[in-house]
């Protein structure tokens, strides 16, 4: 099950590509020729296919089983979407082609934008952010622009304790100071604490709803009203939009900006860590500040691209580009194919089934695992458990690794931070009841071992491609690239 590194099996002369012959002619590179070897190992095509096929088999994936990662929404990725994204009419377009050779591409962007706005009840949407965190940044920059336009230089962004790490990081990246807002015992934002903190220095609240405890913020409207009353904006982290799509519109709850992780709600594949795509829906006020470029539909049904050369006239207050070009087209085509497949009725069913599956897990396991918010009402798309009741010395980590030996990817661990030894389980709507039942049985069995003090869990996983890996050593003495000397040592 070990596969050597490319650098250990290939060499710099091996090549898996053939080329046409180069035409004769002078070189015009001005004396900048490479004068040292680069050190790139190559493989023939058969070797390459085998290397990566073998490597792939060391991964767990949605195609192999349930991925109960709370807040990450690992759901089935339809293969139709992969096919659509690869149509040459989408995949083989250059972002700087003449705009009248791109009308279909603009139509995709526009149609997707319309769906996102209607599903969220918002006025506008910035399509170009490259991932969720990039979308957060876009939203916060729009908020800051709006405040600056008012001449209002606020300094603080409030973030609940249970927020994703990207929220405070984004606020800081955009130049804000971050302050935490506590949660109530039932796992929701403490409205009174929030009200107490709001003031003229607060630019925005970054809230996640449904929140990372898996709960809907019942008082969302009151929260929004309080924030607005203080002259600040409500940024909603849309990571959990999957739980409510088609059931409730964030715009109806007073949200001013929200990013949408296309890979979470609209099922673009996670790909082992991206690419993502993070369009941000915006209120009317904030829309004026959104980034370039964007697509506008004209009276005659054709599409126009708003970019630098015409922005002064049409979009004078935009804060500039978030990235080169138009955003993640490959994710737009996939998301739109997904959305059209489900339609308005299907998306609503997505939310209902996602919530149903999560509650089924919550109620099927609350007898064996401590569920701190079990009494806070139904959960939304995910159920949170704590390590309360585990025997001394056995931790959430042990349970997670034990779950690997049962054939599953672990749940999200130690997040949200407000729960001790948190385990956050999100099954998504694309799991069958049969799969849930088997998973519940597996987690129950591992949980019982943890409560009974089964020390053998410390050794888990034992049936995975690797035993527990030493992350501390990796960080203490970082080896980040392969070096020839290593190979020599390994050969000894």
């Amino acid at each position: 099950i070990d596969e050597p590194l490319v650098f250990e099996i290939g060499d710099t002369d091996q090549c898996g590509v053939d080329f046409d012959e180069a035409p004769e002619g002078e070189s015009r590179i001005g004396g900048l020729e490479r004068n040292r070897p680069i050190g790139l190992a190559g493989l023939s095509e058969p070797q390459t296919v085998r290397h990566y096929t073998r490597l792939s088999r060391q991964n767990y994936a949605i195609d192999l089983g349930l991925f109960p990662l709370g807040s990450c929404t690992m759901k089935h990725n339809p293969r139709l979407d992969e096919k659509i994204a690869r149509l040459p009419g989408f995949a083989d377009l250059h972002p700087l082609q003449p705009v009248d050779t791109l009308q279909g591409a603009f139509e995709v962007i526009y149609e997707l934008a319309v769906w996102l706005m209607k599903l969220t009840g918002m006025y506008g949407v910035a399509m170009s952010p490259k991932a969720g965190a990039h979308g957060e940044l876009c939203g916060i920059l729009a908020i800051r622009s709006a405040l600056e336009a008012r001449g209002d230089m606020r300094e603080v962004v409030l973030v609940p304790e249970s927020a994703h790490g990207t929220n405070p990081a984004t606020a800081a990246f955009a130049g804000y100071r971050v302050e935490n807002i506590p949660a109530t015992a039932e796992g929701r934002v403490d409205l009174e604490a929030l009200k107490a903190r709001l003031g003229p220095d607060v630019a925005a609240l970054m809230i996640t709803n449904p929140n990372t405890c898996g709960l809907f913020e019942r008082e969302m409207k009151a929260i929004s009203d309080a924030v607005h009353a203080a002259g600040a904006f409500v940024y909603c982290d849309g990571a959990n939009f999957n739980a409510i799509v088609g059931k409730v519109r964030p715009g109806d709850l007073g949200v001013d900006a929200m990013h949408i992780n296309l890979h979470k709600t609209f099922s673009t594949p996670h790909g082992g860590g991206g690419p993502g795509s993070g369009p941000v829906v915006l209120s009317e006020e904030l829309s004026a500040y959104g980034p370039l470029p964007f697509v506008a539909k004209q009276r005659d049904g054709s599409f126009r691209l708003i970019e630098e050369e015409n922005a002064a006239e049409i979009h004078p207050h935009g804060f500039g580009r978030m990235a080169a070009f138009h955003g993640q087209m490959g994710m737009f085509t996939r998301a739109l194919a997904y959305i059209l497949s489900h339609g308005a009725d299907g998306l609503r069913q997505v939310a209902e089934d996602a919530v149903l599956n999560a509650n089924y897990i919550l109620r099927s396991l609350e007898d064996v695992l401590d569920a701190p918010f079990a009494a806070s009402g139904p959960c939304m798309h995910e159920a949170v458990f704590s390590d309360a009741g585990f025997a001394e010395g056995l931790t959430t980590l042990d349970v997670a690794k034990g779950l690997i030996d049962e054939g599953y990817h672990p749940m999200t661990m130690y997040f949200p931070l407000v729960v001790h030894g948190a385990m956050l389980v999100e099954p998504t709507e694309t799991e069958s009841k049969g799969t849930l039942d088997t998973f519940i049985g597996a987690l129950r069995s591992v949980a019982e071992r943890a409560k009974a003090g089964d020390e053998s869990l410390h050794a888990a996983p034992v049936f995975a491609p690797r035993r527990r890996l030493d992350e501390t050593a990796a960080a203490r003495n970082p080896v980040l690239v392969w070096k020839e000397t290593e190979q020599a040592e390994a050969a000894e």
Binding site: G16, G165, A169, N261, G273, M322, A323, R468
Partner: protein
């Protein structure tokens, strides 16, 4: 609903287990006045796979695909031939549908591939270390500027006039909010090497300078030695950031790292990824080992497992948002994992020999095309040295010329007037890219069309 496995009987049984009378009971916390009581009006219902394919296919056919025309557009995104095996491999469910490798015991496939990717990027760029990818070249460029601020604790970044204007725009956007000072300039077509403003850069470097950012090859295709610029930066303890839009170039020309750049970032789209109308792409990011703890993004590192077996993990995560929150080096989370894999597979298929051959082929074809196009009356090649992209100065505005070329079925390049709307002579500039995908027939067709249009 083909993607939803629950059937009505399942749902009833599950509600019974939960103890809820109906599905609405599970949404009880949503204020009733905000709850939608049915599918949103004005939006269509679900559709068959066939219907979706038909609708999306119709949109796709409204575009002119690069493969359907002689195609010469570059400027930060290049059309190369991607071997069929690359796409086959990245479509393996185990790569495509896997998660960020936070659980390394069951993610060695992704982790080892990222470790190999980092090694390839570091070697290609001539740097000591590289990260596991950024969104794209433009955001990697800003992240490099922000990193230089953290390393040098200074706030002024000097951008070369040869830096892609979109990259400049991204930096300006961010700097507006972070308070960094961005010193930028517009490229001059009329004298010297186009977009090469070394003299300005030399003069501008001072004790407040965090970094100088220079593109290589630059937005007009020019290439020049960075060694002196690096020395001048280091004299003032500023960092030199080199931005590489076209990784294939580095199969032929010296890497920025070899010329002593401190941070090298760039776009990786040329290898494995494809045009994709601008995204997803893959940002490459490499630097000196001593600065690694200021590097943004994910990094894979080597370690051993409990049985002593070699394995890989995500490491140095104390730089990252999920650990450090507001003190992280960047807010980046999801990056471009699958695109990084595609890049790495393509690079593995090429190997050093293949990359060098590919680069040589690109250059030879570009030289031949430049020579031919410069023979068209009213057309002048402004570049000295270049790799696979060069700039033509026309005797008239380039934008309508490109438009007329497109009417003749030729996608001839990018007009500088589109990138730099403020004129000043740049509107006559036309940036042309040539890769191994361009046949001699393409060049002949382009030259003929250009002659016709310019006549």
């Amino acid at each position: 609903m083909r993607y939803l496995p629950l059937n009505p009987a399942d749902r009833q049984a599950m509600l019974a287990t939960i103890g809820a009378p109906d599905i609405d009971a599970l949404f009880a916390d949503v204020p009733e006045e905000a709850r939608l009581d049915g599918p949103i009006e004005g939006l269509p219902g679900h559709a068959s796979e066939m219907a979706v394919e038909r609708a999306m296919g119709a949109m796709a056919r409204k575009n002119l695909s690069a493969g359907d025309a002689p195609f010469f557009i570059g400027c930060g995104a290049y059309r190369h031939h991607i071997p069929a095996s690359v796409d086959h491999l990245i479509q393996r469910g185990e790569f495509l549908t896997s998660y960020t490798p936070y659980q390394p015991e069951i993610a060695q496939g992704t982790l080892q591939a990222l470790f190999e990717f980092q090694t390839q990027v570091a070697r290609l760029y001539g740097c000591e270390v590289a990260n596991a990818s950024m969104y794209d070249g433009s955001t990697a460029c800003w992240e490099a500027i922000a990193m230089a601020r953290r390393v040098t604790r200074r706030g002024k970044a000097i951008l070369s006039a040869g830096l892609h204007p979109h990259y400049v725009s991204v930096a300006q956007t961010m700097a507006r909010f972070t308070g960094d000072v961005i010193d930028s300039a517009l490229p001059d077509l009329t004298e010297g090497a186009p977009g090469d403003d070394s003299a300005r850069l030399f003069a501008a470097i001072d004790e407040d300078t965090s970094c100088v950012v220079v593109q290589y090859p630059n937005v007009l295709g020019h290439i020049g030695d960075l060694s002196e610029l690096a020395a001048r930066c280091h004299e003032k303890k500023a960092l030199l950031i080199a931005v590489v839009p076209e990784p294939v170039a580095l199969g032929l020309i010296r890497s920025p790292g070899e010329m002593d750049a401190d941070i090298v970032v760039g776009e990786g789209q040329s290898l494995g990824v494809g045009l994709n109308f601008g995204g997803p792409y893959v940002g490459l990011f490499a630097c000196r080992e001593k600065h690694v703890r200021q590097m943004p993004g994910r990094i894979a590192g080597e370690t051993v497992d409990a049985a002593g077996k070699r394995g890989f993990v995500l490491t140095l995560s104390t730089r990252e948002q999920h650990i450090r929150r507001e003190k992280a080096t960047s807010n980046i989370c999801t990056n471009a994992g699958l695109c990084a894999l595609a890049f790495s597979v393509h690079m593995t298929l090429l190997g050093e020999k293949g990359l060098r051959d590919l680069a040589a082929l690109n250059h030879a074809k570009a030289v031949r095309a430049a020579t031919r196009l410069a023979n068209v009356p009213g057309v002048e090649l402004v570049n000295g040295p270049f790799f696979n992209e060069f700039t033509l100065r026309l005797t008239e505005e380039a934008r309508p010329v490109l438009r007329a070329l497109a009417d003749r079925g030729v996608l001839g390049g990018v007009s500088l007037g589109r990138l730099y709307p403020d004129g000043d002579g740049r509107e006559n500039g036309l940036v042309v890219a040539v890769t191994e995908t361009n046949t001699q027939d393409d060049v002949v067709a382009y030259a003929a069309a250009l002659e016709e249009v310019m006549a």
